[in-house]
């Protein structure tokens, strides 16, 4: 298994997909050989110097801790790392939608983590999308976005629940339905209460939620608080002086309004009803 590149940059940067491609060698995808880091430094676009958020050391130290703590069960690292990556790398959604940032993180800063987490037993290979794929597939951006979409204001508790279920982040993260915060929280509540657990059940439920969404406007049924730019900006500003993120307790997210509890309850009940009548593969309807 590879280690980190000999030369890890001190600052995060932007690495375009075209430039990244030459570094995705078969040796890297098999986890056998990693670039030295020197050639990559030549093809990146730098980020502003005066912003502490782009320091790579806090992230490098997080992934090292994750590899140590989850040595025997690599998938378990997702639920631990997602809130902590999010609270370390304080980004706006605009910044987080730029795939070049994630390309750089995966290829220049922590390719060893990508291999450690995603080397497939069956093919003995890492899927290239884990390095530079869509945001819901790429190794680090999927965790950041899971944290962003499942956190309830400053509370990362629901993120731990969501990321503790591989099926949820695998099948639901790319769906538009969780863009509505109360819907995301209702899904977590169903998961937490044990009402849905397996991938098939989750899939059946999300298909049913989408189908019902054609006739019910969830924004009207379960309203959300309006987004406030200032709370998030303050939190991002605090990144300049923030200490390393807590390892043993959950960090705090941006001080945004939580989802109205009433809306989550309404949707939880509605989805429970949908789920009881939804066709789920492998589930008998009469039992």
């Amino acid at each position: 298994m590879i280690t980190q590149p000999h030369h890890v940059p001190e600052r995060l940067a932007l690495l375009s997909g075209s430039a990244a491609d030459t570094f995705l060698t078969e040796g890297l995808l098999r986890g056998e050989e990693v670039h030295s880091g020197i050639d990559m430094a030549k093809v990146v676009e730098p980020l502003p110097e005066d912003d502490a958020r782009w320091s790579t050391e806090p992230i490098r130290s997080l992934v090292d801790d994750a590899m140590f703590a989850f040595d025997t069960e690599h998938t378990g690292a997702d639920a631990w790392l997602a809130p902590r990556i999010h609270a370390t790398l304080r980004l706006t959604r605009r910044e987080a939608a730029d795939r070049r940032l994630w390309n750089h993180l995966a290829l220049a800063v922590a390719p060893d983590y990508v291999v450690w987490r995603h080397l497939s037993e069956a093919s003995r290979r890492v899927a290239p999308e884990r390095f530079h794929g869509p945001t819901d597939r790429q190794c680090f951006s999927r965790l950041w976005w899971a944290a962003e979409l499942f956190r309830n204001g400053p509370d990362y508790g629901p993120v731990e629940v969501a990321c503790g279920n591989q099926d949820l982040i695998h099948t639901v993260l790319r769906k538009d339905l969780i863009d509505h915060r109360p819907t995301a929280q209702a899904l977590v509540r169903l998961l937490k209460d044990g009402k849905v657990t397996t991938g098939r059940e989750l899939n059946g439920l999300s298909v049913a939620i989408n189908a019902a969404g054609a006739t019910v406007v969830y924004d009207a049924l379960a309203p959300d608080e309006p987004r406030d730019a200032a709370d998030l900006r303050d939190w991002i500003e605090e990144a300049q002086t923030a200490p390393p993120v807590a390892r043993h307790v959950l960090p705090q997210g941006p001080d945004e309004e939580p989802v109205p509890d009433e809306s989550v309850s309404v949707l939880t009940d509605y989805f429970t009803e949908l789920f009881e009548t939804a066709p789920v593969r492998g589930r008998r309807t009469e039992d």
Binding site: S18, K42, R94, D176, D179, A214, V216, D219, A220
Partner: protein
Amino acid sequence: MKIYPYKRLGRPITLRVTSVSLKLSDGTRDPLDTSAYSTQEQAVALGVAGHSDWVSATIGLSATLPPGADAPDAAWSDLRVLAVLTDGETNVRTSTPLTRDAEGSRDWSGHLEVLRDDHLGRASLSAYAVGTVDGVRGRSITETDRSWIVDTVSDEPVRGLRLDVRKASFNKSSREWLRAYGDAPWLVDTTARVPTVFVNTDIDGIVGLLDSNGSGVESKARDLLVAQMATDVWTAVFHGAIGDLEVEPDGGPVFPTDWQGEVLREMLPDVVPGVHVEEALRRVHRRRTGEAGWGELQTRIHYAAVRRADAAKAVGFMIRSLERTNRESET
């Protein structure tokens, strides 16, 4: 056509943008003039005033419901109208309620906030009328049939896909990866946020030709060159979009929500004519991942690209221009 388990209004909501203003980082407001939005294109361009430091935009909206929304025998009660802004790239979904202009009026209006930090490129804006039907709250009664596009970067309100054209010396560019392509006049990069054409300024005279705006043969040659580039772009972008498709557990492809989705929606009717775009996408995906038919499809993809690039027009004008030059040199 969708079937609904309750009565709805048969006609869509008409949604209009009535004003746009930007809040700048120093706290001041800049009202944008009407060039920032186009009712014809159903597009808003927040980049028109050239501000890069805006924090949020306030978009004034007016929605007109079709007749019948307030009929005394309507199947719904508690009628409400809301505007919803979505962005597939940043997973943003926000909504704002509209209020009725006057009692009995079919016009509803309100304001929607667009936060700069929440968008990288384009968001989509639609309106829904909802009511309580048979005890179920939030039932959709009717909606807009075509969303507005809110482009947070563009300086011109147009719906169509915008390309980014950049000039660079491939041999000396800070983008070191371009150096490997030093002898190419242009390159298409589809991995960027919007498809980008890099024009190689090392090719002597190419910039002069591309910037020419006269009316002679030169400008026709330029248009032909641009059409050729555009054909390359559309072809590359189509392949990029098809190659990046995500797949549902049942094997069916998912329609992308970003510009790749726009490209596919635009080109698929020419690639697989006569079927709905969703079905067309499934067929193309089957051909690419299946055992046969991908090669055969290339002609149709090329055709769709050529049409979009207006290549026939460019060739036609070039030929006429050459004919005229030849005639003039003979006399």
